[in-house]
Structures are given as C-alpha cells and as structure tokens.
C-alpha cells in the first residue's frame, strides 16, 4: 500500500505540473493579447452608465444607470421567464404524458405526434416560429383585443393594470419580497424532517411575519400604493405594465419544448411502475384515469423528480436563447449589448458563467440531499 501511494503521487505530480504549465501558457497569451488591444481585466466598467435602455424590466432602470444595474435587470428577466416556463412546462408535460398513456388511440397517437415533432426540431427554430406567429397574428395597438376592462392584447404586447409603489427607493419593496421568500425557504429547509403539520404551521407563521414586516417597513418609509391602468394615448399605451411579445414568445417556446421532454419522462416513469399495480387497480374497479391518478402516478413521481429537475436546469440555460429574439435576459444584456459596447469580453463571460455554475451547483446540492433522503427512507 505504501509503495502504491508513492507511485500515485508521482503521477499526480506530473499531471499537476502539465496543468500548471498549460495554464501559465494560456494566461500569458491572454495577457499579451489584452495588452495588444489596450484592454485590462477589471470590473470597474460595471459602475459606468450603460447608455442603453432595457426594453422590459422588473426594476427601475434608465440609460443613465450603470452596467451593473443593467446586468441585474437582465438577471431578473432570466429568473422571470425561467420560472414561468418551468411552471407551464411541468403542467403541460404532465398533461401530455398522461395523454400518451391514454387507452384512446386518437388521443395517444396525437400526443405522440406532437411530442415527436417538438423533440425532433431545433429549439431556436420553434422559438422563432412562435415569435413570428405572435408578431403576425396580433393586431395593431389601435385594434387591440380587449378581453377584460383595462387589459389590452396587441402586437406590442399584453398590457395589464398594475400596482404602483410611489416611494423614494423602489428597492425596499424588492428587498422585502426577497426577504419574505428567503425566510420561507429557510423555514421549509429547517423543518424538512418535521411532520407535515409542524412544517405547514411554521412556514405559514414565518410568511405572515415576513409579509407583516414588509408592509410595516414599506409604510414606515413613506411608500404609498396605487393602481395604474393602461390607456392608449397617441400611438402607445401609458400606465400599467407591458408584457412584451418577446417575453410571451420565449415563455411559450421554452415551455412547449421542455414539456415534450417532460411528457416522455412522465410516460417512462409510469411505465416503469410494476404492471401489477395497474392490474390491481383494474381489479379493484378503478377506471384508467383513476388508477393513473391514485396508484401509478404517485409511485412514478419519485422516479420523475431527478430528471425533471435537470429539465428545469435545461429550461434556465435555454432562456439564453432570448438573444435570438432580443428578449433582455442576462445573456442579451451582458453577453450581447454590454460586451459589444465595452469590449470587456472576459469579464462579461465570467459574470454569466459564474451565474450558471452557481445555479448548477445549488441545484446539484439540493438534488443530492433529496436523493439521500429518498434512499434512507427506502423506495416508496
């Protein structure tokens, strides 16, 4: 054993040496190239005014704000579209998956057809297709669809009435909401192993406390709440919130593509549940849908969760396709506009990569914890 360990160390030493030499070579190249272009590596450009506006944003932003704030706006947009797409894709995916298991051949084969078509065409192509469909299919601002009072749907997007917070610093609300969500997450994690009742009560209590704190804080800092309804003035709408067609197209595109993969997952997992379960359900007089809902799906769920989470990760990564239709998510804002204007390629790419690596790590850690919890409790 001693001699073996010695041999390993020698080979490890060689590997590390080669790695060090290659890294040094690359870094020297980078330094030389940067010098030739007159650029340095620094993040101070993030404080400079951006000089461009972000067409859709969840926080206050103008072209006088910094690149850093633009990046934050992009990040929030990424989170927004990813969350929307994740929820929609899950619902659609489970629906499609159940359709693929239906005894009705028309339904089953149609679902198969849809899933196969979506799976075998490129995602960016589908995205562009939805975008063109939306742009061509929606009317102009003057002839908007008006399904409800104060709601307008046209080629510029979906206009909805909104709450407006008039306060010196809109960030307090954002911070309060983030705080509430964080506390809720902590409550859930802390009571992970506790019985259901305790968990529910603890999270409810914390949520109420956080919500109350946010309201009190907001009231204390002199904020007021008012509603704002969109109105057509001249050529455009004033007031309310505008959900741009790029967001809608990206949301639909991401959701539909992912839902076909989730449908396959669901179908595979339900088929992996032993056939005896289905037969037992039939013997007890359950209909196909009842046995699916009460017996097979619950058992299939634990097989579904890990690949489902990796689909969620894929959705988040695919949100970077927003660059193809100019939806201002983080890749478009930092990797596109900011990089073009400042030329700081390394810093911009580093910011984006760090974000996605952090996301990947976080999700992996949670998944490992989940897998260990499942394994310790045993199957089902």
């Amino acid at each position: 054993m001693q001699r073996l360990r010695g041999a390993l160390t020698a080979r490890q030493g060689v590997v590390l040496l080669i790695l060090a030499v290659v890294t040094a070579f690359l870094i020297s190249n980078v330094a030389a190239n940067l010098q030739r272009r007159g650029l340095g590596v620094s993040f101070e450009f993030l404080a400079r005014p951006a000089g461009f506006d972000v067409p859709f944003k969840l926080i206050e932003f103008s072209s006088r704000d910094s690149y850093g704030r633009a990046a934050l706006a992009g990040l929030l947009n990424t989170i927004l579209v990813s969350s929307l797409a994740v929820v929609t894709a899950t619902i659609l995916g489970f629906l499609l998956g159940t359709f693929m298991l239906s005894p009705n051949p028309l339904l089953r084969r149609s679902a198969f057809g849809v899933v196969e078509t979506v799976k075998n065409t490129p995602q960016v192509l589908q995205l562009l297709f939805w975008y063109v469909l939306i742009l061509n299919g929606l009317p102009s601002a003057r002839e908007s669809y008006r399904p409800f009072e104060g709601v307008f749907l046209n080629v510029r997007g979906l206009f909805l009435p909104s709450f407006q917070v008039t306060t010196a610093d809109g960030q307090t609300w954002l911070a309060s909401i983030c705080l509430a969500v964080l506390l809720l997450a902590l409550a859930l994690i802390a009571t992970w192993r506790a019985p259901q009742g305790v968990q529910k009560r603890a999270s409810a209590a914390l949520l109420v406390a956080a919500g109350g704190a946010a309201l009190a804080f907001g009231r204390y800092s002199g904020a007021t709440l008012s509603t704002s309804v969109p109105e057509l003035r001249g050529f455009n709408f004033q007031g309310g919130v505008q959900i741009v067609p790029e967001l809608i197209a990206l949301w639909i595109g991401l959701a539909v593509y992912a839902s076909s993969f989730i449908a396959d997952l669901v179908r595979g997992a339900v088929l992996a549940v032993p056939r005896g379960q289905e037969e037992a359900g039939n013997a007890l007089g359950l209909t196909h849908w009842q046995s699916l809902r009460l017996v097979r799906l619950p058992q299939a769920l634990q097989i579904i969760v890990p690949p489902l989470v990796s689909q969620y990760l894929n959705i988040t990564k695919s949100s970077t396709l927003g660059i193809a239709i100019a939806y201002p998510e983080i890749m478009t804002v930092v990797g596109g506009t900011t990089l073009n204007q400042t030329g700081h390629a390394i810093e911009c790419m580093l910011v984006i990569m760090l974000l996605f690596i952090a996301l990947n790590l976080a999700v992996s850690l949670v998944m490992n914890r989940y897998n260990r919890a499942i394994a310790s409790r045993g199957a089902a």
Partner: protein, 363 residues
Amino acid sequence: MSDATGPPRPGLQDRLVDFGKALFGSPLNAAITLVMLLLFMAVVPAFYRWAVGLGVLWGPDRKACVEGGACWVFLRIRIYDLMYGSYPPNQIWRVNVAGALLVLLMLGAFLRFNPWRNAGVVLLALVYPILGLGLISGGFLGLPVVEARNWGGLMLNIVIAFIVVVGAVPLGLLLAEARRAKDGVLRTLATGFIELWRAAPLVTVLFMGIYILPLLLPPGFEPNKFASIATALVLFNSAYMAEAIRGGLQAIPAGQFQAADALGFNYLQARLLIIWPQALRMSVPSIVNTAIDLFKDTSLLVIVGLFDMLGAVQQAVKDPQWLGLAIEGYVFVAAVFFVICALLSVMSKSIERELDPARRNGR
C-alpha cells in the same frame, strides 16, 4: 410441432371491434374522440389548403404566389443558399460527393446484417473525416480552396455536426476514463471539467468560442470563426459524450478488467483491446442521442454569424422580394431537421434493440 402457441390471434373483425371500443367505449372516451376529431377537422384541412391547395411551387418570382397560400417558390429559387450557402456553384459536386459518401458509410456502419459493417465503422471514424473535409475545403490535387466562411446551409450543419462528433467522442472517452480513475487528482480535474461545460448554456459557449478563444492563443494567431466555434463545440460536447460513455464503461463487469490483468495486459492494451470496444458498443444509443441533440444545436450558429440552414432562411427573408415569408422558410427547415433527426432516432433504436433484444420497450 407448435400447434398450441397461445390464444388465437384476433382476426380483422375482432381488431376493428376493439378499435371501435377504444374510441367510443366509455362516455369519456367518446367525448375525447369527438374533441380530437373536431380539432383535426379545424386544423388539417386549413393547413392542407395553405400548404398544398393554394401553395405555389413553380413560378419565376413572388408574383406567382397566391394570397392565403404558401409561397414555396421562395424556397425553390433560394434552395441553393439553403443547401450550400455561398459555396461556389461550379464546385458543388465536391459537397455532393462528400455527402453521398457519408450516407453510404453510415449505412454500411449501422445497418444490421451487412458484411461491410466493421470496415464501415473504421472508415467512417478514421478515414472519412480527413477525406470528406479535404474534399470540401480543397487545396490539393488541383482542387481550388473554398474557405470555411463560404460554407453554409444544410451542408454547414452536417459538416459541423460531423466534426464535433468525431472530435468529442474520443475526448469524451478519455474524460470518462479520467473521471473513473483511481487517481484523485485526475478524477477531480475530469469531474470539474465535465460539470463546468454541462453548467454552461450553449449560447454562452458559442460566444466564448468567438470572444475568449482567440485571446487564449499566442498573439499573432488569428483563428477563423469556423475553427473557433468548432473547437468550443467539441469541448462542450465532449462533456456530454463523457457522461454518455461513462454509462457504457460502468456496465462492463469487473471480471473483464481482472481477466485482462490476469493475461498480463497493461493499462493501454486492456483498454484498447478489451474494454473500449465493449464500452463503446454499449454507449452507442446514448452517443447517438447526444449526436442528435448536437445536430439540432447547430441551428444556433446563426447567433454567431455562421449561416447554416436557419441562418440562410433568415437572410433570404430579408430580401425585399421575399419579405414576410418567414413561416414558409421555418416550416421547410423544421421538416428537414425532423426527417434527419427521426432517421437518426430510428437508427439509434435499431442499434439499441440489437444490443439487448430482450428489452421490452413499453407500450
């Protein structure tokens, strides 16, 4: 003799009755069938009318197209760009020869029950990459050089996909071996490399290829866009290939390694002669699935300024004569991708069944 081989197979009449029962047996089923039929009647005739009924394929220009019908004239006239990009017209025969050779070799390598199988695999993996690329880029035997920046259309999709597969599989194999190594340092490095690339979105990788890769080369080296992107894609996909091959490696029983040791094989001999042939055969379905995904991802090249088939369509639609015909273009590109990916899928399933005929594929 096997007279009693189980219950009698249902005759045609029985099967029709079963089909009818499945469609209309219960009230819920009948309702579902009705809804599906209504959906079909709403969508299919309208699509047929747009694509075929009013669709125009022949004609000299846009004026031949009818309002409310698909204008396939656009695609017929621009088909050259969509297939070959800006490849010089009088040299296209080279691309066609390379393409035909590829199809032939793939059939030879993957069709079951054919005597040229082993030769096909070796030729496809080792000889064809050099032969095909040489034929397309030229520069020897009197063939004029066609620079990579003139490659475009479907040809570009296939060339990049092929290059990336040929590059990523060996690299992925090495990474998978490194990830399973007993050596902690090597294992950590390999795992870090793989997880890093798997965390990155493809668009980011393409951008890194364009902006970061040139910085990593010694000053004075100006790599062309094609080479940078190909390199970035090879590195990116090698991580996914590594995961696909790792499954195959893990499936090899320890007895194989022990037998190799007992026979006195060293590390390399054991790998080359015993382990890797088995591992690669078992990983083929996963590798082909990764290859299908990577072929679909070549449509993203338009974002970094390489004009593959999708990029060619987008460029063609900007022509004032063909404005607004994006849908026809996208439908065409979708159809081409669908056909190719479906064929590759079928091939992958056939290989999967060949490797494990006992597997039940579910309903």
